[in-house]
């Protein structure tokens, strides 16, 4: 599970806690990456860009994250949607960690990359949107589509993508938030 929110007592955190509890209750082992808590640095560095096309052995800075990805069979992302997509912190995690040798390889002489994270059979995105569903539709849901169309093909052939969004969270009532937390519990119970 990857959590991305700078405030410790945020609604995103409550969502992550609910998801963790539901997964543990179902008997799953949960490994949490808390990007803000861990002080992750989201900017791809010049050195990392230079070895971008090399294998994992030349990328010690992301080895820990890569090992967790190779271990997991389910990826749960919990984050707020800003400007229609993942926060820079989470985008940086994809930029830096999901590289050649971890997420995909480019076979010799081929022009299409091939996914390597075949162990991941399910991706769930739990996210809150300040804006309404209509505004997000106008923006084209770049965050949702990155996960379903770019990230999912790097995973198992039968990888499911589950989208658990809460639109209009800015004007949401307490009851609306509680209902969303209950929905997370249901979503986690499914594969």
């Amino acid at each position: 599970m990857v959590i991305c929110h700078p405030i410790h007592d945020s609604f995103t955190r409550a969502c992550a806690d609910r998801a963790t509890a539901a997964l543990k209750a179902a008997g799953h082992a949960v490994d949490v990456i808390d990007l803000y808590g861990d002080g992750f640095s989201p900017e791809l560095t010049e050195n990392e860009r230079q070895v971008h096309h090399e294998g994992l052995e030349l990328k010690p800075s992301i080895a820990g994250h890569a090992a967790k990805l190779q271990w997991a069979n389910r990826l749960v992302l919990v984050y707020p949607t800003w400007w229609g997509a993942q926060p820079a912190m989470l985008k940086g995690w994809f930029d830096r960690v999901w590289t050649t040798g971890v997420a995909y390889e480019l076979p010799e002489g081929k022009s299409q990359i091939r996914g390597l994270l075949r162990n991941i059979t399910s991706i769930t995105a739990i996210t809150s949107h300040g804006a309404s569903k209509f505004v997000n539709m106008l923006e084209g849901e770049p965050g949702k589509r990155m996960l379903s169309r770019q990230i999912r093909p790097m995973c198992s052939w039968r990888c499911r993508f589950r989208w658990v969004p809460m639109y209009g969270v800015d004007g949401a009532s307490e009851a609306g938030r509680q209902a969303f937390l209950a929905r997370i519990g249901t979503a986690m119970a499914r594969r």
Binding site: I7, E43, L44, A88, K91, L138, G140, P142, D170, G171
Partner: protein
């Protein structure tokens, strides 16, 4: 990286803008040491204009307020903006800059566009994927800059998109051609 193709694109953009008689200022996020991640304090005071404690953010805000157009030059990664540019949108183009937020008595927040002075948005970018693959898997960076951003700019704001696709299979000729195209298009803005 100062030797990158994106930097060559930046130079072509600057040459084109100068040729067309446009005045411009350049923000180089990596060279300035900009930090992409929104901080706890910034998010807590997100709706209060000018609340950032970061001098760099405040300098960028002053530059954006002067602009009647914005040009974004970047490589597309995972069909989106590099984190550092996404962070620029989040930390710099906030309340009082990109939009105005008003809180009603019942706590509901309403957002109004605040970049009416921006009449042109331009994206100059490179893709690893081919044009049709980018279309198929969705171009998130373009959607953020050309759609989400466009909701906050002038009503008649025009948009220009220039992309070099399939960069892995590119040739020196194709890159040269694209640089010329970018420069000429910028001169004609």
């Amino acid at each position: 990286m100062s030797t990158s193709f994106s930097h060559a694109l930046l130079e072509a953009t600057q040459c084109g803008l100068a040729r067309g008689g446009h005045q411009y200022t350049t923000i180089d996020l990596y060279a300035d040491g900009f930090r992409a991640a929104m901080t706890t304090e910034e998010l807590r005071n997100y709706l209060t204009p000018g609340s950032s404690q970061d001098d760099l953010v405040n300098r960028y805000i002053a530059m954006v307020k002067q602009a009647d157009g914005m040009v974004f030059v970047y490589p597309t990664w995972w069909a989106g903006l590099p984190a550092i540019l996404k962070g620029f949108c989040e930390r710099v183009l906030g309340s009082g800059v990109a939009f105005r937020a008003t809180t009603a008595s019942d706590g509901a927040i309403s957002i109004k566009p605040n970049m009416r002075h921006v009449k042109r948005l331009v994206g100059v970018t490179t893709y690893g994927s081919s044009h049709w693959m980018t279309w198929l898997t969705n171009d998130g960076g373009r959607r953020i800059l050309m759609r989400a951003m466009r909701l906050n700019t002038a009503r008649l704001c025009r948009r220009t998109w220039l992309g070099h696709y399939a960069l892995e299979q590119s040739t020196p000729q194709s890159r040269e051609l694209f640089l010329t195209k970018v420069e000429n298009r910028m001169a004609r803005l």
